[in-house]
């Protein structure tokens, strides 16, 4: 085979990989955007107004932290503000790891490009990028997923916030239970390993025991220590399982 033909075959494979990446990104984007409705409704149920819910989706743009912030505010009110900030920030720590993995993927074209890439660095854009087979497909996967979710998430947040606003007494509609179910949905895909499952159980027990004792908001932060201890010593980790 001549070099030209080899390059041509490579380009064809790459083009196919890019098409797959684009399709993956849009599919994940549409699926994820649907969560925005529940976020918007829960944010309003927690006492935020429609603008505040939309601001979080536009600027914070990382679902776990957004749900955590409104969840802690819902259970503890403004006096738990410090805990709400800490819970949101701690849930954002994983984005640092994603950012490090995505930096070589997204390409470097100046500061604005880099800030945009950081902004769109979330669970889904990282996962789609990492699942692609070529460098160009990974880059396309990252950007398509990020932009698709950004647009969808913000539109559905607004819709959810307006619905929540119209509902009035949200407890009667079971929105407090919906919040717990939403957190479970974020947690579920992370429970594949024994170590993660054990961390989840112990953290839930610690938070429950701490609830009557500590100021609202703090139990969640105390439970975070469970992750530090289990992670530091690699309790129930891979090495011991093997």
């Amino acid at each position: 085979m001549s070099d030209d033909a080899a390059a041509g075959a490579g380009a064809a494979t790459d083009a196919a990989a890019v098409r797959t990446a684009r399709r993956d990104g849009i599919a994940v984007g549409l699926a994820t955007a649907a969560y925005g409705v529940s976020f918007g409704a829960l944010a309003v149920a927690s006492g935020l107004d429609v603008w505040q819910a939309c601001f979080l989706s536009l600027v914070m743009f990382t679902g776990g932290s957004q749900f955590a912030l409104v969840g802690v505010v819902a259970s503890g009110g403004l006096s738990a503000g410090g805990s709400a900030i800490a819970a949101a920030a701690l849930l954002g720590v994983r984005n640092v790891v994603y950012g490090m993995r995505m930096r070589p993927v997204v390409g470097s074209r100046g500061v604005a490009h880099r800030v945009a890439a950081a902004w769109l660095t979330i669970d889904e854009s990282t996962a789609v990028a990492l699942a692609q087979s070529t460098d160009r497909a990974a880059r396309v996967g990252f950007w398509v997923t990020g932009v698709a979710i950004f647009i969808g998430w913000n539109l559905t947040t607004l819709a959810g916030a307006l619905i929540g606003d119209a509902l009035g007494d949200t407890r009667a509609y079971g929105l407090d239970a919906a919040a717990a179910a939403a957190f479970l949905g974020l947690l579920w895909p992370r429970l594949k390993r024994l170590q993660a499952g054990a961390t989840a159980v112990v953290a839930a027990v610690v938070a429950t025991i701490a609830t009557p004792v500590l100021t609202p908001g703090l139990p969640v932060l105390v439970a975070a220590l469970v992750a530090v201890v289990i992670g530091w010593f690699d309790l129930l980790g891979r090495r011991r399982e093997a």
Binding site: S38, A177, R190, P212
Partner: protein, 101 residues
């Protein structure tokens, strides 16, 4: 502290974390232990939020309509039901129980 203060500070913190990953030299969190702790931190916080959101009523613990709703949600996730459907069904279960009770 107003709601806006909480939102602005938390947003600044989460955005700073996102930027840090793209700007700070990749070394620290590439190591096994910090990466593992960052992973488990997410798991622990979400699990704690579920517990507080399901059983908490201010500083008291109660068992009410939220518990069966969460059990139904877990069963639905186990059979790979889409997120938005599960959340809607959980809300409906809690609302239904409260309507009857």
């Amino acid at each position: 502290m107003t709601v806006w203060h909480v939102i602005l500070v938390a947003t600044a913190a989460t955005l700073a974390l996102k930027l840090a990953g793209h700007l700070v030299p990749a070394s620290f969190l590439e190591r096994e232990r910090p990466a593992r702790i960052a992973d488990l931190l997410t798991v622990a916080l979400l699990a704690a939020l579920i517990a507080v959101q399901t059983l908490g009523a201010g500083q008291a613990l109660t068992v009410d309509a939220r518990v069966p709703a969460l059990i139904v949600a877990a069963a639905l996730y186990a059979v790979r039901t889409p997120f938005i459907v599960v959340v809607a069904v959980a809300a409906a279960v809690a609302a239904g129980i409260r309507l009857v009770a």
